[in-house]
């Protein structure tokens, strides 16, 4: 390779500050300010990667974010990141970069055989090749494709870096700190608006500084410095470099991506920062991107955009070669010739597709002795590097042509405005036929909340490539009259298939002119279809270089104009952003808030097994040393049945419903009649959705004449509270009712078992005798000196008191119960024991017996549905034919013939098969446990005509090919009379 570092100055590099890095394990040296690409080129390496499909050798084609070729992995271990653009990744001491998509090495890659086979790997070849025989897909094709697919390898282990979100609000956000953006920001700032100006680069001023055009009579660097200084002095202005506008969304929402400590791994700073900006208005001053020219061999390392060559020379003092040929269809590329000549690099030839090169820039180049071949195109020669070009007639078929030796090619197919941010939220584009680009249509901007345009484009991003409309280049000294561009979509225009098959449109995905033409011939004439069929524009650069050329080829093939063919959809982010920046700080412990009961720490210290319930953690069980969870659960169940168990029931939802109409409201909310409940009493209630399905259950206690306390499921408190608010606010807003969710204000402990009353009497306080506090009553008083509400309700079937104390007394009560209960052999029990206890009693559990398709009538809960009410939520729905169908599966108990435990969710099979050839079913298991009380498996399930089929045996095939036989029985397995809870 013949790229090398020049002795001329480079405005981004610091000569004295050398940095060591490695590429594929080999040591390299660069300078402070270098990118990986500029440093490798300075060291003579242009080959930096391999293309995705054909593994063709590739070097950088750009000097910016649009780079499709020079993608590398950076870092190691938990700081490894694939697919980083070498053209924008800043060098730092010790950086480790690795090339991708090659094996065993970048220079000698076996996969390059694909390139030889390219005629057998046309567009859509996946869809054509791997379709037969069907059995080969899983075992043969997919494994092969998976091994060869993907670009780069994913990082391993958790990300070692941290990331954050940053919120900003402004009247105007200006995306792009080139001269157009600076001018727009300054104008608004002088009017007193709060302005945010952001620039993806490390420097202000954009291309104008490299290109050297005079700005309002000043050198562009001076013009920029003066205006940035003025902006910096204004309190209403925020300026940020290294911040890239990433996406525009509804109502002025703009995301931006900041490289913070990217080049300082391990620093005490976030690696990336995602800005979440709300802007009154957004100006996109995002400039333009140069287009490649489609000529044969346009992907050989050493072929670069003319503007990129100019950037490498003036920014990094690096040239891609010693003899650089320019090929262009416009005047701008002549600036590259001048920059190379100024740096002492030989420019043997400029090839211009136009019939004459009469512009001022061309004249300057010609005056310096450079030959200009007009009405000409090229085909490039070379393999892993450029060796020369053949100069051919632009209108011809590409045959013949004289060979001119060179080691790099600078190409320019004209410029395209960057419309991405404009288009993200619906801004429309217009086609400029003369210049060959799409640009924002100022009459059809994306609209904001007020129905007015919320985004404007300025400068080159608006299609004003020379900034003449912006009025920034007024003085005659600096302004150059440029000659019109001649759009060239295939070079030479009469090229045959052999040449067209070497003209790359999408470099990364190896989409060639022939692929797009083939797609069109095969009927993929819609741009969105052609894109997906050929993968044009689907690479990590998202078509920034390839789209316009590809559209032009497609439109020529289908015989439509380019604007008729249209563009594919522009979607955020503008360039890929790190997953970490999207997550921000929301990872690990703060990914989601964890709700803890007042007893959480006690459970934790006790070595509990946790079970997530909503955002809560509840103890699943409390295993003792050497005890497995199953044994612990069995022990806890038996202990509660035989003597005394304690349950932390604090997560139980508690909602106060208060007001003159509270009873009337609850009558509508629950299927039961709640308004008739007496003060001091409790009632179990069911809640359904308006669609009739069971959604929650719990015990309601009437606290006073106008106050009810509604218990909900642990996971349901917030949802049910919101449900109540919704009906109160949006349907029955005439009712005088308040609701408040007081779940976290109370700790609640269930004291369960034959000795429950004894332990509470030992603690002393209120009268808890059967006469004073019968089953399904509640009372307020004191327990062990703590103010408490005691509810005589039972979810276990045992004598049970649920004691609610203010949250800060919860731990004290728990401790007192434990020590007073010692003589009774007290044990805490967890949620699994709770489940077993309730299942032995045939009590349903929301989420087990109900799943959003079950109505209370299915569960034998008709007794909890008031027949005397005109209305409740869900009543009308439950009158529908399907809901009253006698064939709905109904709740029954299930007991295996051999005493084993039925598999959860197993289906009971019936005779015959359905239309899909699957076995017919007649029921399913909803809850299943081993009952230590009874010594055998117990289950509940929904079964066709179940309650009428007592004693019948059903087959439940398991997933292990065994068939479990179970007999239909009463779902209440234990204490059918309910005697034990009512003592």
């Amino acid at each position: 390779m013949t790229s090398y570092r020049l002795t001329t100055p480079g405005r981004r590099i610091v000569r004295g500050r050398r940095l060591n890095f490695t590429f594929d394990g080999k040591p390299h040296e660069g300078l402070h300010g270098d990118t990986i690409a500029s440093a490798l080129m300075a060291g003579g390496r242009t080959l930096m990667g391999r293309s995705f499909k054909y593994h063709r050798p590739r070097g950088p084609v750009t000097a910016g974010h649009e780079e499709p070729n020079a993608l590398v992995g950076t870092g190691t271990g938990s700081r490894f990141e694939p697919n980083q653009r070498a053209t924008t990744t800043r060098l730092h001491e010790g950086l480790r970069a690795t090339s991708q998509n090659r094996w065993p090495t970048l220079d000698h890659d076996i996969g390059a055989i694909n390139s030889r086979l390219s005629r057998f790997l046309p567009a859509g070849f996946y869809y054509k090749t791997f379709t037969w025989p069907a059995a080969f897909w899983e075992k043969v094709y997919e494994p092969i494709i998976r091994r060869s697919a993907g670009l780069g390898r994913p990082p391993e282990g958790p990300d070692a870096d941290r990331y954050e979100h940053f919120y900003a609000h402004c009247d105007l956000a200006v995306v792009g700190g080139g001269v157009a953006g600076i001018a727009a920001a300054l104008k608004a700032a002088r009017e007193g608006k709060r302005v945010l100006l952001l620039e993806q680069d490390t420097l202000w001023g954009g291309r104008s500084i490299t290109d050297g055009t005079m700005m309002e009579g000043e050198a562009p660097a001076d013009w920029t410095a003066a205006r940035i200084a003025e902006l910096e002095g204004m309190e209403n202005v925020t300026l940020r470099l290294n911040l890239q506008g990433s996406g525009v969304y509804d109502h002025g929402y703009l995301t931006a991506y900041e490289w913070v400590a990217e080049d300082r791994p391990g620093a005490d700073a976030p690696r990336h920062r995602l800005w979440r900006i709300r802007a009154g208005h957004i100006i996109t001053a995002t400039g333009a991107i140069e287009r490649p020219l489609p000529f044969a061999g346009n992907d050989i390392p050493g072929v670069m955009l003319a503007s990129a060559v100019r950037d490498y020379v003036s920014d990094y003092a690096v040239t891609p070669g010693r003899r650089v040929i320019i090929v262009t269809n416009n005047d701008d590329a002549y600036r590259t010739a001048l920059a190379l000549l100024d740096a002492g690099v030989t420019v043997p030839l400029v090839v211009d597709a136009r019939h004459e090169a009469a512009g001022e820039l061309a004249r300057q180049v010609r005056d310096r002795g450079v030959e200009i071949a007009t009405a000409s195109g090229i085909t490039a020669e070379g393999g892993k590097e450029v060796t020369g070009v053949r100069v051919v007639d632009i209108a011809g078929n590409g045959s013949g042509g004289r060979l001119v030796r060179c080691d790099a090619i600078a190409m320019s197919g004209g410029w395209s405005p960057v419309p991405h941010l404009w288009s993200h939220c619906g801004g429309k584009l217009l086609w400029d036929d003369a210049q060959g680009f799409f640009y924002p249509d100022p009459d059809r901007p994306p609209l904001g909340a007020d129905g007015m345009g919320m985004v404007s484009a300025v400068g080159a991003a608006a299609g004003d490539l020379t900034l003449s409309r912006a009025g920034l280049r007024q003085d005659s000294k600096g302004s150059l009259t440029e000659q019109p561009t001649r759009p060239v979509w295939v070079m030479p225009e009469g090229a045959g298939p052999d040449l067209r098959a070497k003209m790359f449109l999408d470099y990364q995905n190896d989409v060639k002119v022939t692929d797009v033409q083939l797609a069109a011939r095969e009927g993929f004439v819609s741009v969105e279809h052609a894109k997906r069929y050929t993968t044009l524009g689907m690479a990590t650069d998202q078509g920034k270089l390839s789209n316009i050329n590809g559209l032009a080829v497609l439109s020529a093939q289908v015989g439509n104009s380019i604007p008729q063919v249209g563009t594919t959809t522009f979607r955020p982010p503008y360039v890929p952003i790190s997953m970490g920046s999207i997550a921000g700080a929301a990872r690990g412990d703060i990914f989601q808030p964890l709700r803890r009961t007042p007893l959480h720490d006690w459970h934790e210290a006790r070595g509990t097994r946790w079970e997530p319930v909503g955002h809560w953690r509840r103890p699943f069980c409390y295993p003792r040393a050497g005890e497995d969870p199953h044994a612990a659960v069995m022990r806890e169940v038996k202990n509660a049945r035989q003597t005394l168990g304690l349950l932390d029931a604090s997560t139980l939802g508690k909602i106060v419903v208060k007001g003159p109409d509270a009873g009337r409201f609850l009558d509508l909310l629950y299927t039961n009649m709640m308004s008739t409940l007496k003060v001091g009493r409790c009632r179990y209630g069911l809640m359904c959705s308006e669609n009739g399905f069971l959604m929650d259950d719990g015990v309601v206690a009437r606290l006073t004449e106008d106050t009810f306390l509604c218990h909900t499921t642990s996971g349901g408190a917030d949802r049910i509270h919101a449900h109540m608010e919704e009906w109160l606010q949006t349907e029955w807003w005439d009712m005088q009712v308040y609701v408040a969710n007081i779940t976290e204000q109370w700790a609640q402990i269930a004291v369960v078992g034959p000795n429950a009353r004894k332990v509470l009497e030992k603690l002393g306080g209120m009268d808890l005798s059967r006469d004073a506090l019968p089953f399904m009553a509640w009372a307020e008083g004191e327990i062990a000196g703590l103010p408490a509400r005691v509810f005589r309700i039972s979810f276990s079937g045992e004598l049970s008191y649920e004691i609610a104390v203010s949250a800060n007394h919860g731990k004290a009560l728990w401790d007192k119960l434990l020590s007073a209960g010692e003589e009774f052999g007290v044990m805490p029990y967890g949620t699994e024991a709770l489940h077993v206890l309730r299942a032995e009693k045939g009590f349903i559990m929301i989420g087990d017996e109900s799943d959003g398709t079950v109505i209370p009538q299915d569960l034998g809960l008709g007794w909890a549905i008031s027949k005397r009410k005109d209305d409740y939520i869900g009543k009308r729905a439950q009158e529908r034919v399907h809901m009253t169908d006698p064939k709905r599966w109904k709740l029954v108990g299930l007991q295996t013939l051999d005493g084993s435990v039925l598999p959860d969710g197993a289906y009971a099979v019936a005779e015959g098969t359905n239309e899909n050839g699957q076995r017919n079913t007649q029921g399913r298991v909803t809850s299943t446990y081993h009952s230590p009380t009874l010594g055998h498996g117990i289950a509940m399930g929904l079964v066709l005509n179940g309650p009428d089929r007592m004693g019948e045996v059903l087959d439940f095939p398991g997933t292990d090919s065994t068939v479990h036989k179970a007999r239909i029985c009463d779902p209440v397995f234990y204490d059918k009379e309910g005697a034990k809870q009512d003592v």
Binding site: E725, Q729, R880
Partner: protein, 115 residues
């Protein structure tokens, strides 16, 4: 991401503070209603490509339900108003008519709601 003005607490709330509640101005059909009315109430929606009245709750703010009149394509917001009403305020209807003459919405139960 939308911003909607909460007519109760006066906050211009980000969409992240809000929870959506589907179309507004539905008439509840309860027990005694015929199947067609009930089906229409429970399942049938205007789902317009254009101006829509919709329900939102300022869930992460003051907790109140309100209605918004919003264009489902352009995201233009014609106004927000409290949920305790059968019909959108006239000024919002006028604003919609000005932006999109000839727009349609289901019968809101009284006359004059359409342009």
């Amino acid at each position: 991401m939308l911003i909607l003005h909460c007519p109760y607490c006066g906050v211009d709330a980000d969409e992240t503070e809000l929870s959506p509640g589907g179309e507004a101005h539905l008439t509840r059909h309860g027990p005694g209603s015929d199947d067609t009315d009930f089906e229409s109430y429970l399942f049938m929606r205007e789902n317009p490509k254009g101006p829509q009245f919709e329900r939102w709750r300022h869930a992460m703010g003051c907790g109140k339900w309100f209605h918004a009149a919003r264009h489902t394509v352009t995201m233009q917001v014609f106004g927000t108003y409290p949920a305790q009403t059968q019909r959108p305020p006239q000024e919002i209807l006028d604003r919609i008519s000005a932006a999109q003459p000839g727009w349609r919405w289901r019968d809101l139960g009284d006359e004059g709601q359409r342009a």
